[in-house]
Amino acid sequence: MEVIKLTGIDKIYRTKEIETQALENVNIEVRKGEFVSIMGPSGCGKSTLLNIIGMLDLPTTGSVEICGKRAENMKENELARFRNEKLGFVFQSFHLINSLNVLDNVMVPLLYRNMSSSERNRRVKDVLEKVGLSHRMKHMPSQLSGGQCQRVAIARAIVGNPEIILADEPCGNLDSKMGAEIMEILSELNKKDGRTVVMVTHNEEQARQTDRIIRFFDGRQVM
């Protein structure tokens, strides 16, 4: 069963003077429980693709169907709810909220759900344990190493039990040892918890650990 189904996607960025075609006729299907990596040179449209899958952005043309829902048919509130329940993002540069400590950062997705605060706390503590950061709950992001920040970001992405995890270069800013740790966590989420993972990476070795590699060049799918 496909949880991600992109058909005939074009994405054109228009500014006053220039027009950039970031994606051109992209067709991708990802089955439930698959671990897919996306590769390609800088500027080829990987982040753009992830944004579209994550329903943060709409394609210029083409249709996006995630978990059986079409993005273009949804209203803002529906979209927000959908993102909250089905999707978990790990951004290219962590994007932690600097004014919040680790615990509160991870809790963000749960704030937009109907849930008691004790239940929220319990869940946050569970995932922090999973990523090995229980002892850093009260730390601020500025007091963490890059690898720790990325683990917080992953914890935040999975705390709400989303079906799909979208990770944009989760190991990009990390040294190879930390990168390996993060890969470990992601594959465990995929294998043990059956999460669908779509990961952007520049690292061939990491990509080979996944089920399938989708390559991009200049906005087009190469294979």
Binding site: D57, N77, A80, N84
Partner: protein, 432 residues
């Protein structure tokens, strides 16, 4: 959720102390200014010593007397004759009191020094309408009044100025207008803010030489003004009707004169009045409206400034908002969050503002209050007293809180809403 907003607000303050400091200061100044306005307006209608019955005290100070042939017209108070024949016997009032002399300086020469006081020629009922607190002696009685005894009641401050003592002043004598008066009571000095009830010394009007004077042309006009204490609003209406009735009977029987009934200036003290009809009506339609308009004007400029600050703050928080959106926050939720967080800052500013307001009121009370109590105050250069009951009034506090909410909405709503409108991708991508 509120606890969470509070936590977040504290975190934001810690994170950006300069912004928060300036923001709190800005709100504080705005709230201080409207709280001062509120206190001034509140004090013009509130029951404060000695006018503790304020909402049930009514005033009839002047009438317009027109000659039936249209030749002449007087707008003035009433004569002794009018007071006795028309007013003292009114049935629809608990107390009727007549007085004159307010606004005339009382000069006293004591120990070769000249003093000027704010005094009033009154009857014994004056003390039934206003609850003067006596610290020594007692007010002059009905019998003293009828017997034209030259007794004077004065405030502790007046006594101190004249004799250097307060309770020791009882039985001493002062010379006013060529007569010697004996001090029979010392009361706590009221504040000039008490308005109509304010006096530094009070003497029986029967001791004034020309107190029964009446004019040949029109026997009814003179310098007396009337105060009524009524049970409630209903009795006030009945009183008004009773007075209209008296005037009507006069108009029907007097060959030459009539009282303009459509201009019956019977005013409640709690809707403080001047003698101009339009102005009075405006006042009567509510000091509330005056306060609201004033507040809006006073908040507008600070709100615009604060709104600029919030605008730049929202830019700094763009990434945060983008992240929250991508994890499922709707614009509404975020707007609510920003407004609450900001309200917490504004209320902190409000608390500082209320303190600031007290400091300003204590420090510049003359300047602040003379504007509104000019008439009485200019006579003697009286001091303005401010007591805690006046500015710790719960009504004023609630109002200030409301002003915080208003300021918050006026300053934060538009910039927050606009900032949150941006597409998520843009919010996440802006590299800062």
């Amino acid at each position: 959720m509120l606890k969470l907003y509070f936590k977040q607000a504290i975190a934001l303050i810690k994170q950006n102390k300069l912004f928060s400091g300036l923001y709190i200061l800005g709100s504080a100044l705005a709230i201080a200014s409207v709280t001062i306005l509120a206190v001034v307006i509140y004090l013009s209608v509130a029951p404060i010593y000695p006018d503790t019955n304020r909402e049930n005290v009514y005033y009839l100070s002047i009438s317009a007397f027109n000659e039936k042939n249209g030749k002449s017209k007087f707008v003035s108070g009433y004569s002794y004759k009018a007071v006795n024949e028309w007013f003292y016997s009114l049935k629809n009032a608990k107390v009727v009191s007549a007085e004159f002399g307010r606004g005339i300086p009382f000069e006293i020469k004591q120990n070769y020094k000249n003093y000027v006081f704010n005094g009033v020629y009154a009857d014994a009922n004056f003390f039934k309408i206003y609850k003067y607190r006596f610290i020594a002696g007692s007010p002059f009685s009905e019998t003293d009044f009828d017997g034209k005894l030259k007794k004077v009641v004065m405030s502790d401050r007046t006594a101190r100025k004249l004799f250097g003592t307060e309770d020791g002043a009882i039985g001493k004598s002062v010379k006013m207008r060529g007569h010697n008066y004996t001090v029979c009571g010392i009361f706590e000095q009221p504040s000039i803010i008490a308005g109509e009830s304010y006096a530094e010394l009070i003497v029986p009007y029967t001791t004034y030489d020309g107190y029964m004077y009446e004019d040949d042309v029109l026997l009814w006009y003179g310098s007396y003004r009337l105060r009524f204490l009524v049970e409630d609003d209903a009795q006030a209406d009945a009183l008004r009707a009773e007075i209209v009735d008296i005037f009507n009977r006069f108009n029907n029987s007097d060959p030459d004169w009539e009282v303009a009934i459509n201009r019956l200036y019977m005013k409640s003290a709690s809707r403080n009045s001047s003698n101009f009809e339009e102005w009075t009506e405006f006042y009567e339609s509510g000091s509330g409206i005056l306060l609201l308009i004033g507040t809006f004007i006073l908040l507008l400029i600070p709100a615009l400034n604060l709104s600029g600050m919030i605008s730049s703050r929202m830019e700094m928080r763009e990434l945060e908002m983008g992240v929250r959106k991508s994890f499922g926050a709707t614009r509404e939720t975020l707007l609510k969050q920003v407004m609450w967080e900001n309200l917490i800052l504004t209320i902190m500013g409000g608390i500082v503002g209320i303190f600031l307001c007290w400091v300003i009121l204590y420090g510049c009370k003359e300047w602040v209050f003379m504007m509104s109590f000019e008439e009485t105050a200019t006579i003697t250069g009286t001091e303005v007293d401010i007591t805690t009951e006046m500015i710790f009034a719960p009504a004023v506090f609630l109002f200030s809180l409301g002003a915080c909410v208003a300021l918050n909405v006026m300053s934060a709503y538009i910039p927050a809403k606009r900032a949150l409108k941006r597409p998520v991708v843009e919010m996440l991508n802006d590299k800062k």
